[in-house]
């Protein structure tokens, strides 16, 4: 263990200098490529990584074994679980998540998680082993062109064939993954490069000449935007994840409190501002709240902050906010005018842009305009919400489960959701008090995301309550990660809302396909028994009177806990904007 002389690294990836180690590392040491990979990870402050070993990555795993006091490798049960766990880790903490896999099937199994991270701007570094460089292109055992395959779904990727490239490429990988609009990076390392010895020293990447991650908003754009906002009578904000990624939560609160502008959020923007904030008017989009959707088509100024006008947010673009002047605060210039034509684009980091914009804005209140949101909320509450969260019918609803979680956790929990009806219900009704608390697969809509993502989230922030809310369909896509929870003693709470259907697809079949329930009914196994097989404390609830005590017991537990709630089979999620309809044509039933 002579080589193993790196000092214990802090559980952060901040830019704080680690002087003693730095100077130690500056001097080059003669080591193998695989040891270099591990040392690079440690240099970047990585404390946990998720992965699965195999032939082409074995030299790196051998080094991970030697460095296990410094860096914790978590064996997931499938490589997809590794990427989702790394995503959960990144989303709750803001740090770069790391996943590792072998060549061939190991690498291709990472792809779904990488694509998810790309569309949801999550910083990931994925490391794959590759066959030896002399075998490239020979259809060698477990050879696959992962660089080619991952190109369209990575922010950057690169293949290393020489050990000497490792430090620079790894440094670049972390820099690119975390800077600007974050995203996934894949580094593919041939096995010979892992074995090769070279003189290693490490220097963090400070920039790449062809890459300008953080454009600075121009004074002109800020002034033009301020003029429009100051003369607005019915302004409205829609914020997205850019506020969270840009650490601009406080700046956004300052801005809305000064200007009195009602602010709504996209699914990935949820939790940036506490749910209880009086100017937080709810969620936009297909299953968002009634008010912000309808009023998008009544506001006179629409201020979009760190969001990308996804089709699930805008509905039909031809009738989206046509009456409004659109101001777009955005870090990625390619998002400006992509879907919605803007009047003023403020291209820059959300925090910097808001910090400079707010002083130019006049103090205001928009009482009458804000009261419109309240009126719409009343209508929505009476027709939809009340029956969702305070049901009087016999079957349990997804909404009342979320309400119970809210009351047991005081809104302090991070809620990790999968994809489908339960996800929409959770995002609609979960109450958040702190940022980075809504972890879900937004853009890609990846079923199977929640269980492994919850593992990553819990490991990144062990002090936080992490509750995975999952449908019975998505749960079974990555159910094998119960093994990871068991082995790691990871105290995630798992709530499966079981309606024995692929509920969202079934809802569409009911509404748009004449109730032809093609392949959406599920005959499920005994989930409680499965959890018990992994020694996870578990309970099944199907009666209302048992729900609150079960949720309380789950939250009180300091270990992993599995709760299955058997819910009404054919409940639907409303409101709903049917595909192709306008946001103002949102249906309440």
């Amino acid at each position: 263990m002579k080589k193993n002389q790196v000092t214990k690294v802090r559980n952060t990836q901040t830019d704080q200098p680690r002087t003693s180690k730095r100077s130690q590392m500056k001097k080059s040491i003669h080591i193998s490529g695989s040891e270099a990979v591990v040392r690079c990870l440690i240099e970047e402050g990585v404390d946990v990584l998720y992965g699965y070993p195999g032939g082409a990555i074995m030299p790196v795993y051998d080094e991970l074994y030697k460095f296990q006091d410094h860096i914790h490798h978590v064996l997931t049960r499938h490589e997809q679980g590794a990427t989702h766990a790394a995503q959960g880790y990144a989303r709750i903490s803001g740090r770069v998540g790391v996943a590792m896999a072998t060549s061939g099937p190991g690498a291709t199994n990472l792809v779904t998680g990488i694509a998810d991270a790309q569309i949801d701007s999550t910083p990931l570094v994925c490391i794959t082993g590759q066959v030896a460089s002399h075998l490239l292109g020979s259809d060698a055992f477990q050879e696959t062109d992962i660089v080619g395959i991952s190109t369209p779904v990575t922010k950057w990727n690169h293949q290393i064939t020489k050990a000497s490239e490792i430090p620079e490429v790894m440094a670049k990988a972390f820099y690119i993954a975390r800077s600007g609009r974050p995203g996934p990076v894949l580094i593919d390392i041939t096995k010979d490069a892992q074995f090769e010895e070279f003189d290693f020293s490490y220097e963090k990447c400070k920039g790449v000449r062809s890459y300008n991650p953080v454009p600075v908003a121009t004074e002109n754009s800020l002034k033009s935007a301020a003029d429009i906002i100051n003369s607005a009578k019915k302004p409205m904000i829609v914020w997205g994840q850019g506020v969270i990624l840009g650490k601009a939560e406080k700046n956004l609160i300052e801005m809305i409190e000064k200007t009195g502008i009602p602010a709504a959020w996209t699914i990935l923007g949820a939790s940036a501002i506490p749910t209880s904030h009086p100017l937080n008017v709810g969620m936009v989009g297909m299953h968002g709240n009634y008010g912000p959707n309808v009023l998008t088509n009544e506001c006179d100024v629409l201020i979009a902050i760190g969001m990308r006008f996804d089709d699930r947010v805008t509905g039909n673009l031809d009738s989206y906010a046509k009456q409004a002047k659109v101001i777009h605060l955005e870090i990625d210039p390619a998002e400006v005018d992509k879907n919605v034509k803007t009047d003023v684009a403020i291209i820059g980091d959300a925090r910097d842009s808001l910090r400079r914009l707010t002083p130019l804005l006049r103090e205001k209140e928009h009482k009458e305009w804000l009261s419109k949101f309240t009126e719409f909320y009343k209508v929505e509450f009476e027709t939809v919400i009340d029956a969702d969260i305070n049901p009087t019918k016999e079957g349990l609803t997804m909404g009342e489960v979320i309400k119970e979680i809210n009351s047991c956790t005081n809104g302090d929990a991070a809620v990790v959701t999968d994809v489908g009806q339960h996800q929409m219900i959770a995002c609609r009704y979960a109450k958040f008090t702190q940022t980075k608390s809504n972890i879900t697969s937004g853009g890609l809509g990846t079923m199977g995301f929640a269980l492994p993502a919850a593992i990553g989230a819990k490991m990144a922030e062990p002090e936080r309550e992490v509750i995975a809310v999952i449908g019975d369909g998505g749960y079974q896509m990555t159910i094998q990660e119960l093994g990871t929870i068991f082995q790691q003693r990871c105290a995630v709470k798992i709530v499966v809302l079981n309606n024995e259907y692929l509920g969202m697809v079934r809802q569409w079949q009911q509404l748009f396909f004449d109730k032809r329930y093609a392949s959406t009914e599920m005959t499920n196994p005994d989930f409680v028994k499965i959890a018990e097989g992994y020694s996870i404390q578990s309970k099944r609830v199907s009666r209302r009177e048992d729900l609150a005590p079960a949720v309380a017991e789950m939250v009180a537990s300091d270990q992993a806990y599995f709760l299955e709630v058997c819910i009404e089979k054919e409940d639907n999620v409303f409101p709903m904007i049917p595909t192709g309809a306008s946001v103002s044509d949102i249906r309440l039933e």
Binding site: G148, Q159, R209, Y211, N212, D332, P333, A334
Partner: protein, 176 residues
């Protein structure tokens, strides 16, 4: 109509890295856009490559494509131009049986009138090279066709813009 399809020449200054061609062409493929021609070469700046891509799309499409290309980490800058904003050329070579050069006097006239150039002549074949607009190359092709073209190959479009492409500024801004 503003949103009519037009021929656009996209010029991309990039780092010279393996895989970048794939990354750039994937941007077109994903949007189901056919690439009319593509050329890569060095540029006027040391260690900087240049892609010249010709596509027939609408202006709003080309703007979005430029955004997506420019956003790639290893792309330094991307521009798009219409035909009247650039000077552009293509190059083509024709392989033709040698006997025709001597037996068909017409061929010599075609070569002369088209301002093409005979690159090489040997016992079996000779090779004509023609640079110019696509229409000129097409015309030469049509004129030579009756005599029999043994082989033909045409390059992608290469182009320089009439206006400056401000890329040194981007590179100078990076001090490393």
């Amino acid at each position: 109509m503003k949103d009519d399809k037009k021929l656009y020449t996209i010029s991309v200054y990039t780092e010279n890295n393996i895989g970048l061609l794939n990354r750039i062409s994937a941007i077109f493929q994903r949007r189901h856009i056919n690439i009319e021609s593509l050329n890569t070469s060095i540029s006027e700046i040391p260690d900087v490559s240049r892609f010249t891509v010709v596509v027939r799309i609408t202006e709003s499409q080309v703007k979005k494509i430029i955004g997506q290309i420019a956003k790639q980490v290893e792309v330094i800058k991307a521009f798009y131009h219409t035909d009247d904003e650039i000077i552009y050329q293509e190059s083509a070579i024709f392989k033709i049986a040698s006997e025709l050069l001597f037996e068909e006097r017409q061929i010599q006239n075609i070569v002369k009138e088209s301002h093409s150039r005979i690159v090489t002549v040997n016992k079996e074949f000779f090779v004509i090279e023609k640079s110019g607009r696509r229409s000129e190359i097409d015309e030469l092709f049509e004129n030579l066709k009756p005599f029999g073209i043994m082989q033909f190959s045409r390059s992608g479009r290469i182009a320089v813009s009439k206006d400056k492409m401000k890329i040194s500024k981007v590179l100078n801004a990076f001090k490393h």
